[in-house]
């Protein structure tokens, strides 16, 4: 088991390092320079040059990469060119919007998908099975940003139950903050829940055809008991893979949803900093998203070993 974890950690660190290299190189070649952006239309040449020096933009690329990378390791992401505040703080409060949103959506998706998937699988071919399948087909097909617009139209404007967007901040009370994250979470959760339901159902159906289910039935377990006690856990492996993959979809999807609901999350920060060529912020935020995805995949790998003893390596 230890060997398994050690190997996975090694891979994780290597992926992060290569990712940081790829991110820095792709973003460094971005045309447009933050200094001239900040000084606006009729700034003179020398003022722009002065600002570049002040921001340290004139140092060589490898030097800047090294300072950024060493900063990453110690948690100091450097100072933003346009905001002149430490990137870490900016990203910190934005993380407190994007992360809860992603988790809220994942929880919602799982709470919907598990019962629906299991219910549909246990009543294969029945009406509920067909209805669930039809709904998931729709859920997968709906573009979530369009669904978000419809949610705003219905719940925020017509019924006024929710605010149309914006984030009051956690100090305005957990209840208020969660309320403002509800519509975006639903919009994000819908496609994920649909995909997860379909995977859950098909994976369960495969396992129900296995021989050991027949053994369980021969032991005297009823159809439902065999499903809950034996099939469910075996069906978890493919489901876990999809959940891992989905987390990265969730983060990506959040970037668009944050736009529709004007939430001050990491997604909008990326857009704003790309527009203002605040390269150091873009690089740091991308790295944080990559770190989140890689950590989740690592957690999923560990969960595999917990769910399926065969992966734990010989005793």
């Amino acid at each position: 088991m230890l060997h398994y974890i050690f190997k996975r950690t090694l891979i994780l660190l290597a992926t992060l390092f290569v990712a940081s290299l790829v991110v820095f190189v792709t973003i460094e070649v971005v045309p447009g320079d933050p200094a001239s952006y900040m000084l606006g239309l009729n700034a003179q040449e020398d003022t722009v040059a002065a600002l570049r020096a002040e921001l340290g933009l004139d140092k060589s690329r490898p030097a800047r990469y090294w300072t950024w990378l060493s900063g990453l390791v110690t948690g100091d992401f450097g100072t933003s060119y346009t905001y002149r505040t430490p990137v870490a703080d900016m990203v910190g409060d934005r993380l407190w919007v994007s992360l809860p949103l992603a988790i809220y959506a994942l929880v919602l998706a799982t709470l919907i998908a598990f019962p629906a998937g299991v219910y549909a699988a246990s009543r294969r071919g029945g009406i509920t099975d067909t209805v669930v399948m039809a709904l998931t087909q729709l859920g997968v097909a709906i573009p979530n940003f369009w669904f978000a617009m419809l949610l705003v139209l219905l719940f925020a404007i017509k019924l006024g139950w929710f605010s149309a967007g914006g984030f009051p901040g956690w100090d305005a009370g957990v209840w208020q903050a969660m309320k403002s994250l509800t519509l975006p979470a639903i919009a994000l959760a819908l496609p994920q829940a649909s995909i997860l339901t379909r995977v859950m159902r098909s994976s369960l159906l495969d396992v129900l055809n296995e021989d050991f289910i027949r053994t369980a039935r021969a032991k005297g377990l009823s159809r439902r008991q065999a499903l809950w006690k034996h099939a469910l856990r075996n069906a978890m492996v493919p489901v876990l893979t999809i959940m891992g993959l989905q987390f990265s979809f969730l983060l990506a999807g959040a970037i668009i949803i944050e736009n529709v609901f004007f939430l001050p999350g990491l997604g909008r920060l990326i857009f704003q900093s790309i527009a203002s060529r605040d390269l150091i912020v873009v690089e740091s935020v991308v790295m944080i998203l990559v770190l989140a995805v890689v950590l989740v995949t690592f957690a999923i790998d560990l969960a595999y070993a917990w769910v399926d003893p065969r992966l734990r390596g010989s005793r």
């Binding site: 294969r124 050991f212 075996n234």
Partner: protein
């Protein structure tokens, strides 16, 4: 008829409108063993499942099934659940997949106990440990926390049996319990089953396609074909009278020995191996230890003369397949020399086409050895790729037709797809594929083990004919001693990567020297002599 524990009369079953069982009637008495014999597709397993009403979706079952004085085929699901595992236990064919891979063996056995008896979890576990001891899995060697993937096929089958007999059921149904196991393990499992029947006065229904197995274990027999019971009665009388023509055909096929004139020329050996060693890496235990290598073939030397048919027997895992693959250049060799017609062949890495032209192979599983996307013509013509001067289109078509006809198939079959053929026909095609470039040696790796008895006989006859007409040498690899005995001139017995005994087939079978060979021969079930007038085909 009075004290029969289980009685089926006129049981009919159809799934999605396709009829499976027709008026099946049989009975089992307490403390006795009923053997059900039939080839694949005869409905024997379905009979077992209809007893427990564990039928797939869309199954319609009629007629009545009496068990222990009660009619059980119209009971509610809840009542049936009470009987399953408690009154009737069941053992299945495939031990490798019969257990839940993510649950340890203790929990899986205890679950059955806790389900039917109101006992605490710990009590259920102690009872489970007792049952496991009883089926030959001592707790010190096999603790309850072991997982199925850490056990061998035989050990897993013992766990399945433990589950089935944990609650001392009145009836145990064993559906082909030993088909997937080695000869020695098969003998142990059959002995265990017999002992359990005697100890707890349990009735057993043993389902198999192997006449020899059932003849040693069952008190009464039922012979089924296409969902119908053709013959039944006490084992002895059924074997002696061979009343029903199908029973007679089955009996003859099982003891069939093809006509062969063993012409052996003691000239330069066609193929000679000296001190061959093959290894492959094992799973890495921990990062720091170097990968341990498993030595599958350990200093093996043998020689095969052209036209000769050599048998290689041994249990699974003894390295016989690795040896075959090494010979064909499909797996790497650590050391040792391979000579073909006196010429050094294997120089370590690649095997030249010249050598491959001399040797071809036929595999075990007819359903896996063909690319479903290609037509038969293209399938059997694949080895032509080895020839220096490729035959032109016209020659190629003629060659394909001739080769197909030589294995008893029709020239037109060339443009059909493989899924249009039965198991037996597919092995004929596999042999055609091997024959097309007229090799000197064909390696048959368990070529007939997957076939039904009657089909197996035909394929063995074909091989015998071909070896005479085409001056062919065979290396016949199998774990089934009776088949090897009927077709080979010389035999080599292999154990843990080494050849422990070699010699003429008859002398080795009649007076084996090495005690491993002795245990092997003893374990193989013998077909009783039938005093019915033996009819020759």
């Amino acid at each position: 008829m009075s004290d029969s524990l289980l009685r089926l009369d006129k049981v009919n079953l159809s799934i999605h409108e396709t009829p499976i069982l027709h008026d099946v009637s049989l009975q089992v008495h307490a403390g006795s063993v009923l053997g059900i014999i039939g080839e694949s597709g005869s409905g024997k397993s379905m009979t077992a499942f209809s007893i427990l009403q564990l039928l797939p979706q869309g199954a319609v079952c009629s007629g009545n099934i009496h068990f222990d004085g009660m009619q059980i085929n119209n009971l509610s699901e809840e009542q049936l659940c009470h009987i399953r595992g408690n009154e009737i236990g069941m053992v299945f064919q495939e031990p490798m997949t019969a257990l839940n891979p993510v649950q340890n063996i203790g929990a899986q056995v205890a679950e059955c106990i806790a389900l039917h008896k109101s006992v605490s979890r710990s009590q259920a576990l102690t009872q489970a440990a007792a049952v496991l001891e009883r089926v030959g899995l001592p707790n010190n060697e096999f603790p309850l926390t072991r997982y199925p993937h850490e056990l061998s096929g035989g050990q897993r089958q013992r766990v399945v049996i433990a589950i089935a007999v944990a609650l001392e059921p009145k009836l145990l149904i064993a559906d082909e319990p030993t088909t997937a196991l080695d000869v020695t393990t098969q003998a142990e499992i059959l002995a265990l089953l017999k002992q359990l029947v005697v100890e707890s006065d349990m009735a057993m229904m043993l389902i198999t396609h192997d006449l020899a197995v059932v003849s040693e274990v069952a008190d009464n027999l039922v012979i089924m074909r296409d969902g119908r019971v053709l013959d039944h009665g006490p084992t002895r009388t059924v074997f002696n009278e061979l009343k029903h023509p199908y029973t007679r055909a089955l009996y003859d096929a099982s003891s069939h020995t093809p006509e062969r004139n063993a012409s052996i020329e003691q000239v330069v050996p066609l193929v000679e191996l000296t001190d061959l060693v093959c290894e492959y890496p094992m799973a890495r235990r921990s990062l720091f230890e170097p990968r341990k290598m498993f030595r599958a073939v350990n200093q093996v030397s043998l020689s095969i003369f052209s036209g000769e048919s050599v048998g290689l027997v041994g249990e699974s895992g003894c390295g016989k397949s690795t040896l075959a693959k090494a010979l064909l250049g499909l797996s790497p060799i650590v050391s040792g020399r391979i000579m073909l017609r006196g010429e050094q062949v294997h120089s370590g890495v690649k095997v030249s086409n010249k050598v491959r032209r001399e040797m071809q192979v036929v595999f075990q599983d007819p359903y896996s050895s063909f690319n479903p996307r290609h037509r038969v013509g293209r399938l059997i013509a694949e080895p032509l790729h080895l020839l220096e001067n490729q035959p032109d289109k016209h020659q190629r078509v003629k060659l394909i037709r001739v080769t197909l006809e030589s294995v008893g198939l029709d020239g037109e079959d060339a443009n059909k797809y493989i899924h249009e053929f039965s198991g037996g026909q597919r092995q004929r095609i596999a042999i055609a594929r091997a024959l097309i470039i007229k090799p000197a040696l064909i390696i048959l790796d368990e070529a007939v083990s997957a076939l039904d008895v009657s089909v197996r006989a035909q394929v063995l006859d074909l091989l015998a004919e071909l070896s005479d007409s085409h001056e062919l040498a065979y290396l016949f690899i199998s774990h089934d001693l009776s088949v090897v005995r009927s077709i080979t001139d010389r035999v080599l017995v292999m154990k843990q990567g080494q050849i422990v005994e070699r010699g003429d087939t008859d002398s080795v079978f009649i007076s084996p020297e090495h005690n491993y060979t002795k245990t092997l021969l003893a374990a193989a079930p013998q077909l009783p002599q039938s005093n019915a007038e033996a009819s020759r085909i």
